[in-house]
């Protein structure tokens, strides 16, 4: 039975979960917005961040406040390398962006996903590792809800990072360049914007954000080689719900998914928790295929 206290508890936990989904999904939305590809290895950037934070903090003894940005930088560097080595052939020597080979991106990112999972499995081992928490308190009262100190800290850092990203995209030169390229890559290039550098920046930023999400959650969801699969699937759903490539859409859809899953699991059944997002996805594809903030493509 849904009491007021339980409803408030579910709402707070749903919103916090939604924030974490948002941190993951926004990188994916950025990549789709600029490169028009779906990165199937996005979850593995999350996994890499979780391991980077765990190893740097727990094994090398680096202070936690430094370990977090290290994980972000690690993910960003990996993103940069992947863009330079694997993504460039997508648009190298092709005069028109419309000739981009979608199947190439699917195959390459899927192969990268398998490679990273198996590499970590063999190099570090299959065991799950729990990273040290930013705040070690096991239980913190947040309004009507109880949370671990790490969850509260992770939620606050996530909010701050999302605000920074919004500020960056809206007011900085490179943020405006990202938005311009996502609107029209050719037009942006003709206006003097380096679309290739923007692609590099976006892949690095997306990799860094996913790695940061992995690092923030690694004291709660233990790092293991396959830990990236679940946030990646949520991210794909969120990007479609929010409107392909829309950053505000991805943020709103993340919170919506967190709330729907939280309440649905109690009101309907926990067994169907992961299906609520997919049901939403199907409904959106049927009745609002452009998503919450996406634009309907022109048809002739």
């Amino acid at each position: 039975m849904l009491t007021g206290a339980l409803a408030a508890d579910l709402a707070v936990n749903g919103l916090v979960t939604g924030l974490f989904y948002g941190l993951m999904a926004i990188g994916l939305a950025l990549i789709f917005g600029v490169l028009r590809i779906v990165n199937f290895a996005h979850g593995e950037f999350y996994m890499v961040g979780a391991y980077a934070y765990t190893i740097v903090a727990a094994r090398l003894g680096v202070p936690l406040v430094l370990a977090l940005p290290t994980a972000f930088l690690f993910g960003a560097a990996l993103g940069w390398v992947v863009e330079r080595t694997l993504m460039r052939p997508l648009y190298a020597n092709i005069g028109s962006w419309g000739l981009m080979r979608d199947e190439y991106a699917v195959i390459v990112t899927f192969a990268l996903s398998l490679l990273l999972v198996n590499f970590v499995d063999k190099a570090i081992g299959p065991y799950a590792f729990r990273a040290p928490a930013l705040i070690s308190a096991s239980r913190v009262v947040v309004g009507p809800a109880l949370m671990s100190g790490q969850k509260v800290a992770a939620a606050l850092v996530t909010l701050a990072v999302l605000a920074l990203i919004a500020f960056f995209l809206r007011f900085s030169y490179w943020g405006r360049a990202v938005r311009a390229v996502s609107q029209n890559r050719l037009g942006a290039s003709l206006a003097g914007i380096d679309a290739t550098a923007v692609s590099s920046l976006v892949f690095s930023l997306a990799g860094g954000l996913a790695a940061l999400a992995g690092a923030l959650l690694s004291p709660i969801i233990n790092a293991s080689p396959d830990v990236g699969a679940f946030p990646a699937i949520k991210s794909y759903v969120i990007v479609v719900l929010g409107g392909m490539g829309s950053i505000p859409g991805a943020f709103i859809a993340s919170l919506l998914l967190g709330i729907v899953e939280s309440f649905g699991a109690v009101l309907v059944s926990y067994q169907y928790r992961d299906t609520f997002g997919l049901i939403l996805l199907i409904l959106f594809l049927l009745f609002r295929p452009q998503g919450l903030f996406g634009e309907r493509g022109r048809e002739v």
Binding site: N13, G125, P126, Y127, A128, R130, S138, S262, A265, Y270
Partner: protein, 403 residues
């Protein structure tokens, strides 16, 4: 003197050639299916593989079986039933193994044993607890390991002794999890019908169980039972603790999966592990046959790790098969099955025999020893945890420490 040295050389040469001929003989190939990579439990797979290798080395150091060395042919199942099925098919048809050992996941046993049954090859189930494995009644399948009904009985007795009125289990969505959670309910009906019991099935692949846990905050049960395996179990246990549900002064946390001796337990569980009640198939304070010490020492020498239940289960699986080969004086499947049915072998955990009663008892070693212990400190080794229930004796509530 010269003749003496010639004789000595001849004797040495003959001995060497005799030993060589024994080992030049075709090895007896034994198929092993274990998880060596995700998404299955690699922790379990590694412990089982190490245990089998220790037992195989012991047998080979003693001259092998029927003068032939034992050779383990290992296949990785990734914990996936379809891969387990394919692995058993490959081991039997291509590698010509005389038997299959090692499987440690019920869903995989249920898949692999179908193939073994089709080819009529002995299948020693090392750690599949699901009763359905026994209920199939396949003559080739033998179970010198634990079974769900046994844990269900132990859990029900423990819950009764704790005086609980309301119990909730969190079970993973596998044959093992659902089977054991249902079994606990059935046993509770029999031994403590006044207890209100329900179980929630949780997805092993999920990472957030809060929506299933939150409703317990306002109406906590007397006992929460873990019927999940790592890594999902660790996440669930941490979240149950984080929400203040268990272990608390009101609510016990009973670990029916026996996770506290896993090598990565304390890497993943901190405060949530303190005061945990654990169902255990091995505890260093248990009485055990001499063979357990030999196997345990060899394992520690090989891996540097302390012995664990899966080591002994794995070793016994291979030793029981080797014993049957010796008694049958053959690797013929019919002769092996017959010999296995007549097993009376003192392994690492006691005297192993197989029941011929139908149902969950079929080809099962019924008297598997078990204990209950309580974790009283964070980071505590199993050896240092107090035993609150010795094998064959009822749980002593006066030994329990309330959180």
């Amino acid at each position: 003197m010269r003749y003496a040295s010639h004789l000595a050389i001849a004797a040495l040469t003959m001995s060497a050639s005799l030993i060589a001929s024994a080992y030049a003989a075709d090895p007896i190939k034994v198929g092993v299916t274990v998880t060596q990579s995700p998404p299955g439990s690699v922790v379990q797979g590694t412990q089982v593989k190490d245990g089998l290798e220790v037992a195989a080395k012991m047998l080979n150091d003693q001259g092998g079986v029927l003068g032939r060395p034992i050779e383990l042919v290992v296949e990785d199942t990734q914990g996936l039933p379809e891969k387990a099925r394919a692995a058993v098919e490959k081991l039997i048809t291509r590698d010509k193994v005389v038997g299959i050992v090692g499987e440690h996941q019920s869903s995989n046993v249920l898949a692999g044993m179908e193939v073994a049954h089709r080819y009529h090859i002995p299948y020693i189930n090392t750690n599949g607890w699901a009763d359905a494995i026994r209920e199939k009644g396949y003559p080739e399948v033998f179970n010198p390991n634990n079974y769900n009904r046994r844990v269900a009985m132990a859990a029900a007795e423990t819950i009764k002794k704790l005086g609980a009125k309301k119990v909730v289990s969190f079970a993973e969505n596998t044959d093992y999890g659902i089977g054991l959670a249902k079994g606990i309910g059935e046993q509770l009906k029999a031994v403590a019908p006044e207890v209100s019991y329900r179980f929630d099935t949780l997805d092993r692949a999920a990472k957030d169980y809060l929506p299933a846990i939150l409703p317990l905050r306002s109406d906590p049960p007397d006992v929460v039972v873990d019927v999940m395996l790592p890594p999902a179990a660790y996440i669930m246990m941490n979240q149950v603790y984080e929400q203040g549900v268990a272990p608390t002064a009101k609510t016990w946390f009973y670990d029916a999966s026996g996770l506290a001796d896993y090598p990565d337990f304390w890497q993943n569980i901190k405060e949530a592990g303190k005061d945990l009640l654990v169902f255990g198939l091995y505890h260093p304070k248990m009485k055990a046959p001499e063979l357990a010490k030999t196997v345990g020492d060899a394992y520690t020498k090989k891996t540097g790790a302390q012995p664990n239940r899966l080591l002994f289960q794995a070793a016994d699986s291979l030793l029981v098969l080797a014993d049957a080969i010796k008694r049958a004086n053959s690797t013929d499947p019919d002769a092996l099955v017959k010999a296995l049915e007549a097993t009376k072998y003192t392994g690492t955990r006691g005297e192993i025999t197989f029941s011929s009663e139908p149902g969950y008892k079929y080809h099962q070693w019924l008297d598997i020893p078990y204990v209950t212990f309580q974790v009283t400190e964070i980071g505590q080794k199993v050896a240092d945890s107090p035993l609150v229930e010795q094998p064959g004796q009822p749980l002593d509530p006066s030994k329990l420490a309330r959180p």
